[in-house]
């Protein structure tokens, strides 16, 4: 039972994420020269299998490609940028421009997505870290292709404190306005990390309210 996130904390987490994801969206918008539409972020506490099911429902059971970055600091976890596989090449084309021939585009797809992920995920993480005043250390991003379980890689988290309970799943959908490309951005933290994260958000809100 998750009893440490009340409505006020959930609201504060959502607001901080809104700002962080807004920063990430601005970076994506600049990269692909299109407006990026965002959903309201949602925060859920799910078992690993529920998180996998949720992702598979949203990707309609199809393969996705993702860029995943692990981060460590006062709170820790994984942040992921996930695209339906069929859309990933379109995104790369928009990013590199029309001058690059299709053969080279295909060859560069994985590296281009890694660079997109690097920019978007760091914009989001960096904004959160700057807002909270707590630095986080991000690993180099990795590229993953497959279904929900492979994308989320929650099996590797076994043995971490809290893993057997639940994970905090923070998720926002985005879509490029004119280019028919959509995707998801997700944070996954175990309960120990989630508790540290929520405490940091509470401290931040208290500081802001104190003026």
């Amino acid at each position: 039972m998750i009893d440490f996130v009340g409505d006020a904390e959930r609201d504060a987490v959502t607001e901080l994420l809104n700002i962080a994801i807004g920063q990430a969206a601005a970076s994506l918008s600049q990269l692909v020269e299109d407006e990026v539409r965002l959903s309201v972020p949602f925060v859920d506490f799910l078992t690993p299998s529920q998180a996998v099911t949720r992702l598979e429902e949203e990707t309609q059971g199809a393969d996705s490609v993702a860029v995943r970055q692990h981060f460590e600091g006062h709170f820790y976890g994984d942040i992921l940028l996930i695209f339906p596989e069929r859309r990933s090449l379109d995104l790369v084309r928009h990013m590199l421009g029309d001058q690059v021939p299709l053969e080279q585009l295909t060859e560069l797809e994985q590296e281009a997505l890694l660079e997109v992920g690097n920019i978007i995920l760091n914009a989001c993480l960096g904004s959160l870290a700057n807002q909270l005043g707590l630095p986080v250390e991000g690993s180099l991003p990795t590229y993953v292709r497959g279904r929900g379980a492979r994308i989320l890689n929650l099996g590797e988290a076994k043995g971490l404190p809290g893993h057997e309970e639940m994970v905090m799943f923070l998720h926002v959908d985005f879509a490029l306005l004119t280019k028919d490309v959509n995707g998801y951005l997700a944070f996954v933290m175990d309960i120990v990390s989630a508790r540290h994260f929520v405490e940091a958000v509470q401290a931040y809100v208290a500081e802001q309210m104190a003026g």
Binding site: Q23, Q30, L108, E111, E115, N122, A123, A129, L140
Partner: protein
């Protein structure tokens, strides 16, 4: 403007391609030399004698911050800027302390050109 040489350091080939394209379009005739790591950048520096260095921060092996430190020790007046997705304030402050620029990805053309014109990024 006399032709110059820019050393572009990033482990991502795509990132190097995008930055190279901006330089080649706006600075025709300039030479762009690439390196995929900090170690390679230090080797390239000796041979290429670049006029400007643009450095990614998070790279396997020697990161951009350490590479910048070593380049500044070799050539204190060499214009060096970081070009990074890592927008965190401590990284920006470290860049300031080292006397190097701080540009964020995706790079803005005007900011990059300011740096290549000798302006502070």
């Amino acid at each position: 403007m006399a032709a110059k040489t820019v050393l572009l350091v990033d482990d991502s080939r795509v990132a190097r391609m995008m930055t190279r394209r901006l330089i080649e379009v706006s600075r025709a005739g300039w030479t762009v030399v690439e390196a995929a790591s900090g170690e390679e950048a230090l080797e390239q520096y000796a041979g290429a004698k670049p006029d400007f260095v643009v450095l990614d921060v998070n790279m396997p092996g020697m990161g951009g911050m350490e590479t910048a430190r070593r380049l500044k020790a070799l050539a204190p007046d060499l214009p060096v800027t970081l070009l990074t997705a890592n927008i965190q304030d401590p990284v920006r402050l470290q860049a300031e302390a080292l006397g190097v620029g701080f540009l964020t990805k995706p790079v803005r053309e005007d900011a990059l050109l300011d740096f290549l014109s000798g302006g502070a990024p």
